[in-house]
Amino acid sequence: MTDFVPMTARLVAKTAEGDRLDTLHLKLNSDQPFGFEFGQFNMLAIPGIGEIPISIMGWQDDCLLHTVRGVGRVSDAMLALPEGSTLGLRGPFGNGWPLARFEGRDLVFITAGLGCAPVVAAINHAVTHRNRYRRIVILQGVKHHQDLLWQAKYDAWRDMGDCQVLLAASEEQKRKYHWRLGMVTELLAFAEFDPSHCAVMICGPEIMMLSAIPYLKQRQVADGDIYLSMERNFQCGQGLCGHCQLGPYFVCRDGPVFCYPDVKPWLGVKGF
């Protein structure tokens, strides 16, 4: 019944990442190996408060990493937990990025908003196993320069061989060094990658996905090489509660990472 009853995880450390944003280092109270894919998620619970889906950010020093933004009741309570607290954890659930299938290709990452965990986790992985992939292109859009999380990481990626980092700020008047003004999708015109041999991973608001896709088509990227990490209301994470339905799909079970042609008919349709 471990799929249903949480295992306990001890909050051994918290790293502040930004305004109301922490990375939680969770030590599982279990001897079982915890296998996962980037793009999968766990359901994290605070008993008596609630349970929320959070993407798996990584694994470091025997700890599972989750980066949590405080946006409401449960996530705020999670950030307020002192080190040493115990949480409940169910997972991992869902399908992650099929990174093994992308080996030998150029990788293009597109994200908008405030630090999109599933994509950042995949970039970390690609960078750690740099020789498995060819070029890495990272496109990130934010409203203001200072909204960019993990600035140091982006700087390090930019300085890495064969890696292009393009940043856009949509609500700035003045352009800063390394930045462009405008939407993240406009960065695609400057992205250098081989469209016939690439994998594109997108995470962020659906409106951004919808505007990125025509640019990718212009560059002759095949629909089947585009992957999207979708978000919906999750109550169970297990394909049972019905909240996360997107047309015929249960996003928690059939996603959250989808190959674009599968969700194409439902993407951007109001009400789904």
Binding site: I46, R232, N233
Partner: protein, 377 residues
């Protein structure tokens, strides 16, 4: 999943006769097999499934009169136990419970300890189950038991179920099971199946357990006349005025995403969720955290939910189905169209409950036919 042929009666096969005076022996046989017996009875002006202390509790001589937005029990012309068709709920709440504790969390000196709740599943026999509700049960089985994370509470009760089904001898005005291929005759999923006649029952059994129980009953051979009566009343129950379009036609509902009819329905729909809560196939739930400040014990509870509710599509600061028209469309498109992608058939078994329990008298079948018609002519 058994195939669902169009309606054709198979009444003649392997049926024996149980006099009405011996129905109590069927009840007793189920008790002797170790089952808690659950059956239909009249409570607060409706037929509900509840523990049965004896067959005298059955709704003898009662039947319901239904219409869009209406459900009324009254005396029937015949003194039968199963002359009604449906109540507001199938036996779904006994398997997929309206409230289910998922886990308990206890604060201890070493932090929190999580444990599973005690299950109250036990051998349960249901009397009076209709073919539409068996079809709905098989759909719920697919959802709760055959996915990547089988629901332990549903599964545990499901494995201890004995079903005594009844063929419908009449159809309520809101029934349309013939058009969905789910009735009025039960063809699978039961242990015992009854045809109710004026003075007794034709009985047939399926499987080892059903046959074992049947062997203990004081049955006689069924006469050709009794068999003909059973066939005639099944044929009567199969005469239904409403017709749901066939599965392939229903799939084409996804081409009507921006039909103005959704907006017109939304003017009447109260988004109350009655339709989803009486539907025997709906499976949505939400989770709630409860805290006992005194004992320090916490519970995570799963509660029935509906795509008509405010928080069902809540994400990133908004409800993706903010408009009532979008919620009504979700209900119809899921139930009739995308359900087919998920479970290889439509999620509607033709029971008509959503029609009679809609306070706005919205008729699912009529709306769907209108929508599909408005496009095709």
């Amino acid at each position: 999943m058994p195939s669902r042929p169009g309606y054709s009666s198979t009444v003649a096969m392997d049926k024996v006769y149980l006099p009405r005076g011996s129905l109590g022996e069927l009840y007793q046989a189920l008790v002797d097999e170790g089952y808690e017996v659950i059956g239909p009875q009249e409570q607060q002006d409706a037929i509900v499934f509840a523990p049965l202390s004896g067959i005298e509790q059955l709704p003898w001589g009662r039947q319901e009169f239904t219409a869009p937005g209406q459900y009324r029990l009254d005396n029937a012309s015949e003194q039968r136990a199963f002359h009604w068709n449906t109540g507001p709920q199938s036996f779904k709440p006994w398997l997929f419970k309206p409230q289910q504790v998922m886990w308990l969390g206890q604060e201890t000196d070493d932090g929190i300890v999580f444990k599973a709740p005690v299950s109250d599943a036990k051998p349960r026999a249901f009397i009076g189950v209709r073919s539409c509700d068996i079809a709905a049960l098989y759909l719920q089985d697919q959802h709760f038991m055959h996915g990547p994370h089988p629901d332990p509470w549903y599964s545990e009760q499901r494995r201890q179920l004995c079903i005594v089904a009844v063929n419908c001898s009449r159809a309520a005005d809101t029934c349309f099971c013939v058009s969905t291929g789910d009735g009025p005759e039960a063809t699978y999923g039961y242990d015992l199946l009854l045809d109710e006649l004026d003075d007794g029952y034709l009985v047939q059994a399926k499987g080892e357990r059903g046959n074992r129980i049947l062997a203990t009953l004081p049955t006689q051979g069924a006469t050709p006349l009794q068999q003909r009566h059973a066939e005639e009343q099944l044929a009567r129950a199969a005469r239904q005025s409403r017709q749901m379009p066939d599965a392939d036609t229903l799939k084409s509902l996804v081409e009507h995403l921006s039909d103005e009819q959704w907006l017109r329905i939304a003017e009447r729909c109260l988004a109350c969720g009655n339709c989803t809560s009486v539907c025997p196939t709906c499976f949505c739930s939400k989770q709630e955290a409860e805290q006992d400040l005194v004992s320090g014990e916490h519970q995570q509870v799963r509660v029935w939910d509906s795509c008509f509710s405010e928080q069902h599509g809540h994400i990133a600061g908004k409800n993706i189905r903010g408009e009532v028209s979008q919620r009504y469309r979700q209900w119809v498109l899921h139930k009739l169209a995308t359900w087919q992608d998920q479970y290889q058939r439509s999620g509607c078994v033709g029971c008509g409950r959503c029609i009679s329990w809609c306070p706005a008298a919205i008729d699912l079948v009529e709306e769907v036919n209108l929508m599909l018609g408005s496009r095709h002519d």
